[in-house]
C-alpha cells in the first residue's frame, strides 16, 4: 500500500472491483472495501482492508453499516456499482450528516423517477411512461407510432423497454412488434418505456466537486453495445458548450454537490439534445480506462478526490488535465462477440493485428463452444483496445471490427 495521508479523507468503496481497489490502493487516501463476505479470504491474503457486507435491497441495516463505518472514522462512501448507489446514499446521509443524500440516491436508482425529475427541471427528455403489464406496452407502442403519423403497414418505430434499476444494457429490450411484447416475461414488470430517439447517442463522464464540474469527458459510441472512444470527434466536441450547460442543469436539478455522474444523451437531427438517463457511479465499458489511456489520469482516483470532503481545489486543479488539449491521442475499445454459432478458438483478424492503432486485447479462449443467441443485449467476450491520432480513422476502424470474426 502507498503511504496514506492521514490529513485527508478516509473513504469506503462499496462493491467489489479489482480495478477500483488497485487504483485506490496506489493513491494517498486511506480506504476500506465493503463487499460481500466471499471476498474476505482474498482481502486477507492480499492485505486489502475489508468490511464484509451483504448488499441486498436497502433496508434498515443501512444504518448499521453507516454506524460501523462512522466508528471506523470513514468520511464518505463511494458506490462502485449500480446496486450500491442507494447504500452509499444512505451511508453518506449519516457520515456527512446530510439526510437529503439518501433521497438523491433513490432518484438515481429509478429511471422513471429520474426522468420525471429531469423533465420537471426543464430538461428535455423523450416520451416515456411506466408499464405494469403487456397491455401498457402495446398501447404505448401504438400511441408513439400514431404520433409519428405512421400509416398501417409502415414498419413501427421501435420503443425501448428498460428495467428501472439495472445498469448498462441489462434488462433492455427493443420492441418493434406486438410479437416482441409477447416475449416479455412477467417478472420484468413494472418497467420503463421510452420512445426511440433517432440521433446521435453519446455519454458523458463528469467529476463534480462543490457543485462545479471539475472534468467533463464526452464518450462517443460508434455502435451501442460494441464500441466507444475518447475523446470524441471534432463534430461531437463542437457541442461541448451546450453539453456543459446541460450537465450544469443536471447538477442543479438533482442537487448534486459532489461525486461522479455518467449521463447519456441524444443529439437529434434537428439539433436538439435529449436527456436519456444518468448513473451516479463509474461507467461500464471500461470508459475510465480509456480516459486514462487518453489523458494519463486514473478515473477511480479522481472519484476519490471528488467524494472526499477534505479535498482542496488545488488538488483538483493539479489532478485533472485540460479536456482535449491535454489528450495524448484517441483511445477506443471494441467489445468482441462471436459471429458464428459454434466456435473453437480465438484468432485476431490479421488486418486488425497489423493495424497501427491496435494495441492489445483482453479476450480469452472460448470455454463454451456454442454461442448463446442475443435476445436482450448480452455481455461481450472481452475487449480489444485501440489508440491513435485521428478520431475519424479510429471510429471507422472500430466500425469495421463489427464485420470481422475474432472467434473461429
Amino acid at each position: 500500500m502507498t503511504d496514506k495521508n492521514p490529513e485527508k479523507g478516509y473513504v469506503a468503496l462499496l462493491g467489489w472491483s479489482l480495478n477500483a481497489i488497485d487504483a485506490v490502493d496506489r493513491f494517498d487516501r486511506r480506504y476500506v472495501v465493503v463487499a460481500p463476505p466471499w471476498a474476505e479470504d482474498y482481502c486477507n491474503q492480499n492485505g486489502i482492508p475489508f468490511v464484509p457486507w451483504d448488499f441486498d435491497r436497502l433496508n434498515e441495516r443501512s444504518h448499521e453499516l453507516a454506524h460501523q463505518l462512522d466508528e471506523m472514522g470513514v468520511d464518505v462512501a463511494i458506490p462502485i456499482f449500480e446496486e450500491t448507489v442507494e447504500w452509499a446514499g444512505a451511508v453518506n446521509a449519516v457520515l456527512l450528516k446530510n439526510p437529503r443524500l439518501l433521497g438523491q440516491a433513490m432518484l438515481f436508482r429509478d429511471k422513471s423517477l429520474m426522468k420525471r425529475r429531469a423533465q420537471l427541471g426543464g430538461i428535455r427528455v423523450g416520451v416515456f411512461e411506466e408499464a405494469h403489464d403487456r397491455g401498457d406496452v402495446i398501447r404505448f407502442l401504438k400511441r408513439v407510432n400514431q404520433t409519428l403519423l405512421k400509416l398501417d403497414g409502415d414498419p413501427n418505430d421501435p420503443i425501448h423497454f428498460k428495467a428501472f434499476d439495472k445498469s448498462g444494457t441489462a434488462g433492455h429490450r427493443v420492441i418493434r412488434t406486438p410479437e416482441d411484447v409477447d416475449n416479455i416475461p412477467d417478472e420484468e414488470f413494472p418497467a420503463l418505456l421510452e420512445s426511440h430517439l433517432d440521433g446521435w447517442e453519446f455519454a458523458v463522464e463528469a467529476w463534480i466537486k462543490n457543485g462545479k464540474i471539475q472534468f467533463l469527458n464526452i464518450s462517443e459510441y460508434v455502435t451501442l453495445g460494441y464500441s466507444v472512444f475518447v475523446p470524441a470527434t471534432p463534430e461531437l466536441e463542437a457541442h461541448r458548450d451546450r453539453i456543459t450547460e446541460e450537465i450544469e442543469k443536471l447538477i442543479e436539478v438533482f442537487d448534486i454537490d459532489f461525486g461522479f455522474i455518467h449521463p447519456e444523451y441524444f443529439l437529434t437531427s434537428d439539433n436538439k439534445l435529449y436527456f436519456g438517463e444518468v448513473a451516479y457511479r463509474p461507467p461500464g465499458f471500461n470508459a475510465l480506462e480509456l480516459i486514462e489511456r487518453a489523458y494519463g489520469f486514473n478515473g477511480y482516483q479522481g472519484l476519490v478526490l471528488a467524494f472526499d470532503p477534505k479535498t482542496t481545489q488545488e488538488e483538483l486543479d493539479a489532478f485533472f488535465p485540460k479536456e482535449i488539449e491535454d489528450a495524448k491521442g484517441h483511445a477506443g475499445c471494441f467489445g468482441v462477440y462471436p459471429r458464428r454459432r459454434v466456435v473453437s478458438r480465438l484468432e485476431i483478424p490479421e488486418e486488425t493485428a497489423n493495424h497501427p492503432y491496435f494495441e492489445f486485447h483482453e479476450l480469452s479462449d472460448p470455454r463454451e463452444q456454442k454461442v448463446a443467441k442475443r435476445s436482450a443485449f448480452g455481455t461481450h467476450w472481452g475487449l480489444a483496445y485501440f489508440f491513435g491520432d485521428n478520431a475519424h480513422d479510429l471510429r471507422d476502424l472500430l466500425k469495421k471490427q463489427e464485420e470481422l470474426d475474432y472467434y473461429v
Binding site: 479489482l18 496506489r26 492480499n46 488486418e351 489508440f387
Partner: protein
C-alpha cells in the same frame, strides 16, 4: 506520439512497425508495473499479446530482450511456474515454444529473453546468476539443435508458424550464446550416455548427425570439445582410412576389393577401435564384416570385432556359428548387432553348454502371428522380423545392462530381461522361442502354471514399441504374468514382491525379503532393523566378507532433485565393492534409459569414474541404502551382522528421513 495513420494494407516499413509495437509494449508493461500484486493477473495477457506480435517482426527479439528484466520486475511471470527461474527445466522449453496457446509461446520467449539478459550481463536477477543462465540456455540449445540446423521434418512443417517462432527464438539465442558451449555440452552429454552402453542408440545417433551438420554449416573454434565431437562423428561416418571421407558403401566396397592384406588389417583394427571407444557401429563397419565373410585368405572378423582372449577362444571353437550370426544379424539396418556379438563373445557365454544349441535354434526361428506384426510395426520392413530379433538378441546378450524400459511403466519387465541376459542367457532364449512360435509364455508360481495368453493385458497393454526387439517381444507377456503372480499373492501379509521376485526370476533370487514400510499404511516400520539387515546381507565388512553371488532385484523410492518422493522403482543390485578411493559402493542396474540421476541432497548416481562397468550406476553404500525400500536376503542367515552399531546406520536413516520418508514416520 507520432503514429502514422496509414491502413494496414499500405506498406509499412519493418522499422516503423517495430517502433510502434515497442511503444505499445511499453504501454502494456507500464500498466502491469503499476498494478498492485493482487491486480496483476489482468495485465499480463495484453503484454503477452503484444510480445507475440513483436517477436514475429525482424529485430523484435532484441526489443524483447532489452525489456526482459523490466517485464520480470513488473510481474509478468507472477503466479506461473516461470516465477522461479531457478527450478525451470531446459527439456520443457522446446515443447512450450510450440504450444497451441500463443500466450505460452510468448511467456516462454520472454522467459528465455530474461535468461539471455542475465547471461549477457545486461541484467541481474536474485535467483539467477550469469553462469547458471548461460548453462541453462546452452542446454536448451543442445536439446533443440535440430531445430536450428537442418531441414524441418514433416511434423514440424505442418506446425507452420508455431514452428517458425521456435526456430526464430532459438536462433536468436544461439547468436548470442554462441554454439561452442552448446557443442561441448552436447558432446559431453552424448559421451555420458554412450558410457552406459545402452542397447538403443537411435537418439544418440540422431544427435551425432546433428553435430555433424552443425560442424559443417557453422564450423566452430578448435578446442577439445571439437575433438570430442569429431570422434563421435567419425565413429559413425568415417572411422577408418578408407572410409574417412564418407564415400558411400558402394565406393567403400570397391576400395576394399583392391586393398592388400595389411590395408585390410588396418581397416579391421580401425573399426574395432572406434567401436570399442564409443559403443557405436558405423555402417561401413557392418559392410566390412559382411564382406569379410567371403574373404578367404585369412579371417578378418576377429580383428574387426576387436576380440579379447576369451572372444578369440570362442571364435576358434565356434567359428561356423559365429559366421552364421554375422551373416544373418549384421546388416545395414542392424549394424549394432556387431557390437553385441563382440561383447557376447568376450563374455564367454558360448562356453556354457546350452548356449550354442540355443543360438542355433534362434538362427532357425520363424516368428509367427501377433509377435511378427509387432516387430514389423516397431522396426519397419528394411529387413525381416527374424533379422531384427536376432540382432536384438545379440545386443541384449552382449550388453545385458543396456536394456531400457523406454517411455513405458514396465521397469520390472525390463529388469527381468536384463537379469536373465546377465545370469541365465539360455533361459532368455527359451522364453523368446516360446513367444515367437506360440505367442505365449509359460511360467509357474509355486507350482501353479501360468499361461500369459490366457491373461488380460497388464500395464503395458500390447507392449512397448519404442524398445529393443527382445523387449517388444517379451514385455507384454512378462507384464501380464507379473500381474497374475500379484493376484495369486492376494491376502498374504506384506509386500507381494517377497514371493513374486523369486518365482519370477529364478532360484538365485533370495527367498526372504525385507520391506521398509508397512504396505497398508505406507509408514516406516522397524526401519532400524531393516537397515541393519541390509548391512548384514550386503556389506562385506558385516557379512563375513562375502561378495554377491547373483544380482538381486530390489525396490527403491525415487526422489527428484528437491528430495521429493516421485514413486517406487524396480532396480537390481549387482555387486558391492570399494571404489578407487576405498569407499564402499553399491553398483546397480536401473532400467531407466539414463541412469545418471540426481535424487537430491547430494545423492547423485554416478555412471562412470567410480569403478563402474558399462551400464552400471553406483552410489556410496549409505546413500544407496537411504533410498532402498525393499531387498532380498537368504532365509538361512549366519551369525554375521548381529551387532551393527548405531553410527553405522545413522547416515542412511537420516538421508531417508530427510527425503522420501519425510512424512512416513509413524506416531
Amino acid at each position: 506520439m507520432t503514429v502514422k495513420d496509414t491502413s494496414a494494407t499500405d506498406g509499412q516499413s519493418g522499422d516503423a512497425a517495430l517502433a510502434r509495437l515497442s511503444g505499445t509494449l511499453d504501454v502494456a508493461i507500464e500498466r502491469l508495473e503499476r498494478a498492485r500484486p493482487f491486480a496483476k493477473a489482468r495485465y499480463q495477457g495484453p503484454v503477452l499479446d503484444v510480445l507475440g506480435r513483436i517477436i514475429a517482426q525482424p529485430g523484435g527479439l532484441g526489443v524483447v530482450r532489452q525489456r526482459a528484466a523490466r517485464m520480470d520486475a513488473a510481474g509478468l511471470f507472477a503466479g506461473s511456474d516461470w516465477d522461479r527461474p531457478e527450478v525451470l527445466m531446459p527439456q520443457l522449453v522446446g515443447g512450450t515454444l510450440m504450444s497451441e496457446d500463443p500466450a505460452f509461446q510468448a511467456l516462454e520467449a520472454a522467459n528465455l529473453a530474461r535468461f539471455l539478459a542475465v547471461a549477457d550481463g545486461e541484467a541481474r536477477h536474485d535467483n539467477l546468476h550469469q553462469e547458471g543462465a548461460r548453462h541453462f540456455l546452452t542446454q536448451v540449445l543442445a536439446l533443440n539443435l535440430k531445430d536450428i540446423f537442418g531441414v524441418p521434418d514433416e511434423a514440424a512443417r505442418t506446425l507452420g508458424a508455431r514452428y517458425d517462432l521456435k526456430r526464430k527464438v532459438l536462433t536468436h539465442i544461439a547468436d548470442h550464446v554462441g554454439l561452442n558451449d552448446v557443442l561441448s555440452v552436447l558432446v559431453s552429454e552424448i559421451w555420458r550416455l554412450l558410457e552406459q552402453r545402452s542397447v538403443q542408440v537411435g537418439v544418440v545417433k540422431d544427435m551425432i548427425a546433428q553435430i555433424a551438420i552443425a560442424l559443417n554449416e557453422k564450423g566452430t573454434a578448435p578446442g577439445s570439445s571439437r575433438l570430442g565431437a569429431e570422434r563421435l562423428v567419425s565413429a559413425l561416418f568415417g572411422p577408418t582410412t578408407a572410409s574417412r571421407d564418407d564415400p558411400g558403401i558402394a565406393v567403400y566396397l570397391e576400395r576394399l576389393s583392391v586393398s592388400d592384406e595389411s590395408g585390410l588389417s588396418r581397416e579391421a583394427m580401425g573399426f574395432a577401435r572406434a567401436m570399442h571407444d564409443t559403443g557405436l557401429v558405423s555402417d561401413y563397419h557392418a559392410a566390412f564384416l559382411t564382406w569379410a565373410l567371403e574373404y578367404g585368405d585369412r579371417p578378418l572378423i576377429p580383428e574387426a570385432l576387436g576380440l579379447g582372449s576369451t572372444g578369440l577362444d570362442c571364435w576358434r571353437h565356434y567359428r561356423g556359428l559365429i559366421e552364421n550370426l554375422v551373416r544373418r544379424a549384421v546388416t545395414p539396418a542392424t549394424p549394432q548387432a556387431a557390437y553385441g556379438l563382440a561383447m557376447l563373445l568376450d563374455r564367454g557365454i558360448l562356453h556354457h553348454a546350452p548356449m550354442v544349441p540355443a543360438l542355433e535354434r534362434q538362427l532357425a526361428l520363424r516368428i509367427g502371428g501377433v509377435a511378427r506384426e509387432r516387430i514389423a510395426l516397431g522396426f519397419g520392413p528394411a529387413v525381416s522380423p527374424e533379422t531384427y530379433l536376432l540382432a536384438g538378441v545379440l545386443r541384449v546378450l552382449g550388453q545385458p545392462l543396456g536394456v531400457g524400459q523406454g517411455a513405458n511403466p514396465t521397469c520390472q519387465s525390463a529388469r527381468a530381461i536384463a537379469l536373465w541376459a546377465l545370469n541365465d542367457p539360455d533361459y532368455l532364449l527359451h522364453l523368446i522361442t516360446q513367444v515367437a512360435e506360440f505367442d505365449t509364455l509359460l511360467m509357474q508360481f509355486e507350482g501353479t502354471p501360468i499361461n500369459s495368453a490366457d491373461l488380460p493385458a497388464g500395464l503395458a497393454g500390447t507392449g512397448p514399441i519404442d524398445a529393443d526387439p527382445v523387449s517388444v517381444l517379451l514385455v507384454a507377456h512378462l507384464d501380464r504374468i507379473y500381474a497374475e503372480m500379484g493376484r495369486l499373492c492376494a491376502g498374504r501379509p506384506g509386500d507381494p514382491h517377497t514371493w513374486i521376485n523369486p518365482q519370477f526370476h529364478g532360484w538365485w533370487v533370495s527367498r526372504d525379503c525385507a520391506v521398509a514400510v508397512d504396505v497398508a499404511t505406507g509408514k516406516l516400520a522397524d526401519y532400524d532393523d531393516f537397515l541393519r539387515r541390509f548391512f548384514a546381507a550386503y556389506h562385506p565388512d558385516y557379512n563375513g566378507g562375502r561378495p554377491m553371488g547373483h544380482p538381486q532385484p530390489a525396490g527403491i523410492a525415487v526422489t527428484d532433485a528437491q528430495q521429493t518422493f516421485v514413486g517406487w522403482h524396480a532396480i537390481a543390485i549387482l555387486r558391492v565393492a570399494e571404489d578407487q578411493s576405498g569407499r564402499m559402493r553399491v553398483y546397480f542396474y536401473n532400467p531407466n534409459n539414463d541412469s545418471g540421476q540426481d535424487w537430491g541432497d547430494g545423492v547423485v548416481v554416478s555412471t562412470s569414474g567410480q569403478g563402474e562397468r558399462y551400464g552400471e550406476g553406483s552410489l556410496e553404500f549409505e546413500a544407496f541404502l537411504s533410498r532402498v525400500y525393499l531387498f532380498h536376503d537368504e532365509p538361512l542367515r549366519s551369525q554375521f551382522g548381529q551387532e551393527i552399531p548405531e553410527e553405522v546406520i545413522r547416515i542412511a536413516r537420516d538421508q531417508a528421513i530427510s527425503s522420501w520418508a519425510a512424512d512416513r514416520q509413524s506416531g
